[in-house]
């Protein structure tokens, strides 16, 4: 352990954690003062910026560790900041800054009780996530992990009067606990190779542990279940589409953008750091689960008509893509192809960062839409571009980024992921070689469908005519909200335009995990992974050229055709009056997908009656996993409980007899 000094990055991040915790504690006595509570959010944002800056320092400087004597007696908290933590701190800080600035504006119309609950748990949530990244022993990790789950549970249920929100919160808490139990078992398997006592649970002891292949596989599987439940891997994803719409929008943004990445961090930490050897089938498993998740997520995103639910499913899809890349990285690293593992990992980390930014942007933008219109249902939205130009344009950037269009950031990471897939034919496992083209095609399909989902999302909400007359009074987001969104959107643009610089920045994390950095063959302007002759991407020249062509065309039109335009009424296709109801609806847009992938889901349709004056069609797609997995589990649990209830007679003599018989049996065993 290195000496504790005030200048180490780890101590500086610890300062940030204390800042957030202080904000959370200060909010308790100030819970009746709206102005003070609101002032906490910009402060939380500044702390986020600080943490992001120290995260960059963590990427660039060597790892630093510290022991903080808090917590249980004899069990101090071990903290460590290395390049991997540094990268995720950067992600957390960038996301937290934008979302917290936005939250200052968004929460100011809340009633005071709910605002107080949010102001207490919001900084605590940020502090818990930071602690997860810093923890260097299993105790601290589990405490931070549970604090993260609990604080986010209270954030989700901040509007606890609504029954659906309470139910969503319960489901979330339940899944979080199942995951936490799996993590506990994982750390249990990892510890205890000769070490005993308190030191056995430090990560440094686990790193030097020697596990048999079976033990290592067991630990990895537990980690996959535990972190998969938090990340939303199919089939542990069911809480995500319920909890994200239930939470206030900035909280959804943080949960989706940042918290899901904590699960990725955990799996990287366990899989690549604490476990010294990996096996190829782990990679295949993660790859298959990731692909399933991505495909399942994007299909369900396409058929949603609730904007936040759509974004939640889209998060599942993105997590699926990220885990697909992770699986690929494990396969490459087991086969000793560390260069390719570095490529896949760069894609994974890049996409995690991107998703943190654009999904936060989309969720907070959705919050503004929700605030302006009062509804989350697409059937009551439309044409908001004219009423909310700021939100509309910034959301357009986010939508283009998540759809994976150049020159924005989503394109870079998805392109890198596809590049990693294109390098797979050199693998040693032949059956894998045969299956991977299918996986590549599925990834391409997912990315294309994601673009389709975003066209639906943006087109129905912002374009066209308002579907509800009340939308005429929709108002633009205030200055705080715009600033928050502007930060996130400009980060998306920057990450898209300067991929080479970003890859250099995150290379220490890749180096730490994969043992090598991604070789960029193209210099600072051009991104060319591995080999410039194969594929390269130069966003800045591309963007400049596009801009030049655009300006040229604009100039030509402006000056050559000026004054020669004849204005007349447009041909209305034979319809005398065009109303908002004639637009493509959200259900209509999703119908082809619903039709093609009907075997994936159960669809409940409501058809209009022939005599209806205002016919209305609605369809709800139900997740099949409920029927296949969760409802049987619920039924089995109920049955078991009823059988156990037969033991209950309510007679004290019977209970004493139970104890007596147990005692006798145990005594016989002792003998």
């Amino acid at each position: 352990m290195s000496e504790i000094t005030g200048y180490q990055p780890v101590a500086m991040v610890w300062g940030g954690v204390l800042c957030w915790l202080a904000l959370a504690l200060l909010a308790i006595p100030l819970r009746a003062h709206k102005r003070w509570l609101l002032a906490g959010f910009p402060l939380a944002a500044l702390t986020g910026l600080w943490v992001a800056a120290v995260g960059v320092a963590g990427l660039l400087l060597p790892a630093s560790a510290q022991i903080v004597p808090v917590g249980f007696p004899g069990l101090p908290v071990h903290l460590r900041l290395d390049a991997l933590s540094g990268f995720f701190l950067l992600l957390l800080g960038m996301g937290a800054f934008g979302v917290s600035v936005y939250a200052r504006g968004y929460f100011q119309h809340m009633e005071i009780g709910e605002l107080a609950r949010l102001a207490i748990w919001y900084p605590a949530f940020l502090a818990a996530m930071t602690l997860v990244l810093l923890a260097n022993d299993a105790y601290a990790f589990m405490v931070a992990w549970e604090l993260m789950a609990l604080s986010s549970y209270f954030l989700v249920t901040s509007d606890y009067r609504v029954e659906e929100i309470r139910k969503a919160g319960f489901l979330y808490l339940l899944m979080a606990h199942i995951g936490a139990v799996a993590l506990l078992l994982c750390f249990g398997v990892l510890q205890g190779n000769g070490h005993t006592g308190d030191a056995a649970f430090t990560f440094s002891a686990m790193r030097h542990g020697v596990l048999t292949p079976t033990q290592a596989s067991l630990a990895f599987l537990f980690a996959l279940i535990g972190f998969g439940a938090k990340a939303g891997l199919v089939p542990l994803h069911v809480w995500l589409p319920e909890a994200h719409p239930a939470a206030p929008s900035p909280v959804s943004a943080l949960m989706s953008g940042v918290m899901l990445k904590m699960a990725l961090y955990g799996l990287l930490r366990v899989g690549f750091d604490l476990l010294s050897v990996r096996q190829e089938w782990w990679g295949v498993l993660v790859l298959v689960l990731g692909l399933m998740t991505a495909l399942y997520g994007v299909i369900f995103a396409a058929v949603q008509s609730d904007i936040k639910r759509l974004l939640a499913w889209s998060s599942i899809e993105n997590i699926g893509l990220i885990f697909t890349g992770l699986g690929l990285a494990i396969i490459f690293s087991v086969e000793g192809k560390s260069g390719l593992a570095a490529l896949a990992l760069t894609a994974v980390l890049y996409h995690a960062l991107n998703h943190a930014l654009f999904k936060s942007l989309l969720f907070v933008g959705t919050g503004s839409v929700l605030h302006a219109s009062g509804t989350r249902l697409m059937s009551g939205l439309g044409g908001l571009m004219r009423k909310m130009p700021w939100t509309g344009w910034l959301m357009l950037l986010g939508v283009l980024a998540i759809a994976g269009l150049p020159p924005l950031n989503g394109f870079v990471s998805e392109w890198l992921l596809l590049q990693a897939f294109l390098f797979t034919p050199g693998l040693d496992l032949h059956y894998l070689n045969m299956m991977l083209p299918v996986a590549t095609a599925s990834v391409a399909l997912v990315i294309a469908l994601a673009a389709y989902v975003m066209v639906k999302f943006y087109g129905v909400v912002f374009l066209g005519q308002p579907r509800n007359p009340a939308l005429k009074h929709a108002h633009e987001a205030d200055i705080w909200q715009r600033m928050g969104m502007l930060w996130l959107a400009s980060a998306c643009v920057l990450l898209g335009l300067l991929p080479s610089a970003v890859i250099v920045l995150i290379s220490p994390a890749v180096q730490q995990v994969a043992g090598r950095v991604l070789t960029n063959d193209g210099g600072w302007l051009v991104l060319a992974p591995m080999d410039a002759a194969r594929a390269s991407y130069a966003p800045l020249p591309f963007w400049l050229a596009t801009l030049a062509v655009l300006l040229l065309v604009y100039g030509l039109v402006r000056f050559r055709y000026t004054g020669r335009v004849r204005r007349s009424a447009a041909w209305q296709c034979g319809f005398p009056a065009v109303t908002a109801r004639m637009q493509d609806s959200a259900e209509g847009f999703g119908q082809p997908i619903q039709h093609i992938f009907s075997s994936f889901m159960q669809v409940d349709r409501q058809y209009p009656q022939p005599q209806d004056r205002t016919p209305h069609y609605a369809s709800v797609s139900i997740d099949q996993w409920w029927h296949f997995l969760y409802l049987p589990i619920v039924a089995a649990t109920n049955w078991l409980s009823q059988q156990t209830a037969r033991l209950q007679h309510g007679r004290i003599q019977w209970y004493l007899t139970y104890s007596f018989i147990t005692l006798l049996v145990l005594l016989v065993f002792v003998q």
């Binding site: 007679h649 309510g650 007679r651 004290i652 003599q653 005692l663």
Partner: protein, 228 residues
């Protein structure tokens, strides 16, 4: 048969007394199992405590385990004086000196008790060979006392006999601890004594509450409170 060498002469007669007291303890346990009047049960409980205290005191003096004397004092104070007095008072106030109806047939209970004693002796045999104390032969008796008290708790329907059974079980455990390891550490002993005292008073309060609510001390009345 226990001690050898120079101390053999001295240890001989005091161990005889301890063994006698242990036998008395077992006898009292059987008597409690058979006793049907509550007042008699309380007297038996007090006598059991007294026998326990005397035997512990003898062991303490002859093996120079002076810390055991604190336990003896505690036992005398609590189990021979305060708790029996408190129970007598309860019985007078609540007017429940009537016969207690056992749940199980009388002779069947006694037979079960004998089976339990045989079981306990068999069980204690290997353990007492490992124990390094002079009283190790009484371990079987101590365990038999615990099991018999438990059986008494099971077969009675009224609350007060059950509490007395619980106390008697605590006596058996204490005796077992003395036989196997010369008693528990004093801190544990004090804690247990305090627990017992507090428990008795809480139960006393409960008795009044139960009678007020159900107008009877019969626990079968409480089965109606079972949730369906």
């Amino acid at each position: 048969m226990i001690s050898t060498g120079a101390s053999g002469m001295i240890s001989g007669w005091y161990l005889q007394i301890v063994n006698l007291l242990a036998a008395l303890l077992l006898l009292i346990s059987f008597a409690m199992l058979a006793q049907r009047r509550v007042a008699g049960l309380i007297s038996l409980f007090a006598w059991q405590g007294a026998a326990l205290a005397v035997s512990t005191a003898i062991v303490a003096v002859f093996t120079a385990q002076w810390h055991l004397l604190y336990s003896v004092a505690l036992t005398l104070l609590l189990k021979v004086m305060i708790i029996p007095w408190f129970f007598y008072r309860l019985v007078r106030k609540l007017g429940m000196s009537r016969d207690v109806e056992p749940l199980l047939n009388h002779s069947l209970t006694m037979l079960t008790g004998i089976v339990l004693v045989i079981f306990a002796f068999n069980l204690a045999l290997p353990i007492s060979q490992m124990a390094g104390t002079v009283m190790r032969s009484t371990l079987g008796i101590a365990m038999a006392c615990v099991l018999l008290s438990f059986l008494m708790m099971i077969t009675r329907t009224k609350a007060l006999p059950q509490v007395i059974g619980f106390m008697a079980m605590e006596n058996g455990i204490f005796f077992a601890a003395t036989s196997a390891t010369y008693g528990m550490p004093l801190v544990v002993e004090l804690g247990v004594a305090l627990d017992v005292l507090v428990g008795v008073f809480v139960l006393g309060i409960f008795f009044f509450q139960i009678r007020e609510t159900f107008e009877s001390m019969d626990l079968r009345q409480m089965e109606k409170r079972k949730e369906h």
